[in-house]
Amino acid sequence: MKLILKEIIHRKFNFLMGLLGMVTIVTLVVFFYTMTRATQKETIRLTRDMGFNVRIIPGGTDINQFWVEGYSNLSMSEEVVDKLVNQKSVNYAHLTATLHKRVQWRDKHVVLTGISSQEREPSGAKKSKMIFAIEKDKVYLGYEIAHQFNIKEGDTIAVFNKSFEVAKTLTESGSEDDVRMYFDLGTLQSLVKMEGRVNEVMAINCMCSTKNGDPLGELRAELKKIAPEAKVIMKSSVADAREKQRKMADRYFFFLFPIILIICALWLGSVTMTNVKERTPEIGIMRAIGVTSWSISKQFFLRALLIGFIGAIIGFVIGTIGSYQLGPNIFNVTKIAITPNYFLLLGAVIIGPFFAALSSLLPVLWAVNRDSAELLKE
């Protein structure tokens, strides 16, 4: 090792060029990996903000009625959510039980919507909430309702002879939500005497279901097994956008990764080749002294391992700092999600040295298999 270190100090430039190659590859991999993960998070976040894309409704629902009225006039037990959670469904995320009922309120048609205060995750993963939890004696009002009746936050209104404080008046959405009153699910179930019943479970399809290109088919097959009393409808446009964005991010990374790898392997290989050529007489004298080809190869491989190890650490640091510096400018929503990935560091310090050694393999084999006499004549 002492000999290797002395050689490195003597041929600093060659070592630094090798190190530069290794630092470049690890920096690019760490940077692109971190940014790709951030792209995916950003995509997930943005498409999630487009709303739930999966609707689980009672199995007997008349689809015409459903689309005309906006919700099913049948109901099902809210235990359907428990079933999906207990069976650890792989296809559904952000499961939120809801109950909808169209009523006349102050001579206007409004929709009462009860939302479960809990989003359930069959995968067990901790995910950020999409819904707002409403306290039992409070109500959120859609824009039109508040606007038409000049209701302000903090006012008290009566629904089915029960008083509720208006906790929030919502901004204009340009949809049916503007004439909606939001309650806690349990509260609305009591109000309309439908305890334990729901007529829709909103969800987002987990992206694990896209392997065979038919996510809806997979959603339906799984639901049929777990909760045959329900059926599922998917908002294809939102789901497609989500899936396409995610696939694009994956393709982007997996397209760049091999290119980076090949370029850097060639770089490291040519740096080793230069080193090997420069050390030709040295290899010759080592042979003359009685050193075996394997021992000579070890000198070069250890040097490459050192380049790989140091390069991996420096590359990780630069790649991570680069992601920190550039990431927030690109990913406004999920910039907080750009964090150092220490598994990448572990991977880099394990794989990096082997990659460097592998890149040096051909030049080293070429050198040690050359005729000793030829080596010494150079």
Binding site: K2, I285, A288, I289, T292, A373, L376, K377
Partner: protein, 218 residues
């Protein structure tokens, strides 16, 4: 000590074969100082490398101390060189990043050969490079470099020294010095086989052979 029988060596040069050595027979006794002479390309260095087990002959046998070199594995040939042979080359081939002491200790560093540091100090004293012990090769003159190379060859106490034009880059004074060191080694019982063009070495040799176009002519 050393006997070669019917040694031939062909090299592939593009589409044709070049014969570097053709049916060479030679016997070298212990404590001989053998000079190998000949024109450039006559096969002198090839013969030296074959004797050192660094080149495999195309045919023939080399027996050194009752061992057939051609039948040894790469590792065994390496061990033979590490323990029995000291090489000295025209271009010295010192490692530029090691100082004189480290260059002399190289066989120990790389092959684990038993070298006593006291022997290093003794040998550098004998060769007149004691005050250069911690200098790098780039700080040495040609004569000093060759003395270091000689020290590296002698430090393992080899039974045979193979020298390929060791004085080729030296002035007359240094040439005489190097030849004197080699002669002293031979007089202590060592065997020297030296390839050279020059005439200065003639007076030191116990025997001279001449190669011409790969054939032994005297």
């Amino acid at each position: 000590m050393l006997e070669i029988q019917n040694i031939s060596k062909q090299f592939n040069s593009g589409k044709s074969n070049v014969t570097a050595l053709n049916s060479i027979n030679l016997k070298v006794e212990t404590s001989e100082f053998l000079l190998i002479k000949g024109e450039s390309g006559s096969g002198k260095s090839t013969l030296l490398f074959i004797l050192g087990g660094m080149l495999q002959p195309s045919s023939g046998t080399i027996v050194v101390n009752d061992k057939d070199l051609c039948k040894l594995s790469e590792k065994e040939r390496g061990s033979y060189r590490a323990n029995e042979i000291g090489f000295v080359f025209q271009s010295y081939h010192l490692l530029p990043y090691l100082n004189v002491f480290e260059n002399i200790m190289l066989p120990n560093t790389l092959t684990g050969a038993q070298i006593n540091e006291a022997d290093v100090f003794r040998i550098v004293e004998e060769l007149g490079i004691k005050d250069r012990l911690y200098h790098k090769p780039s700080q040495l003159s040609a004569g000093e470099k060759q003395r270091v190379a000689l020290a590296r060859a002698l430090i393992i106490n080899p039974s045979l020294i193979l020298a390929d034009e060791p004085t080729g880059n030296l002035d007359e004074k240094n040439t005489i010095d190097v030849m004197n060191y080699l002669k002293a080694y031979q007089e202590k019982g060592g065997t020297v086989i030296m390839v050279t063009h020059g005439h200065l070495a003639d007076t030191y040799a116990t025997r001279t052979i001449r190669l011409d176009k790969g054939q032994l002519i005297t």
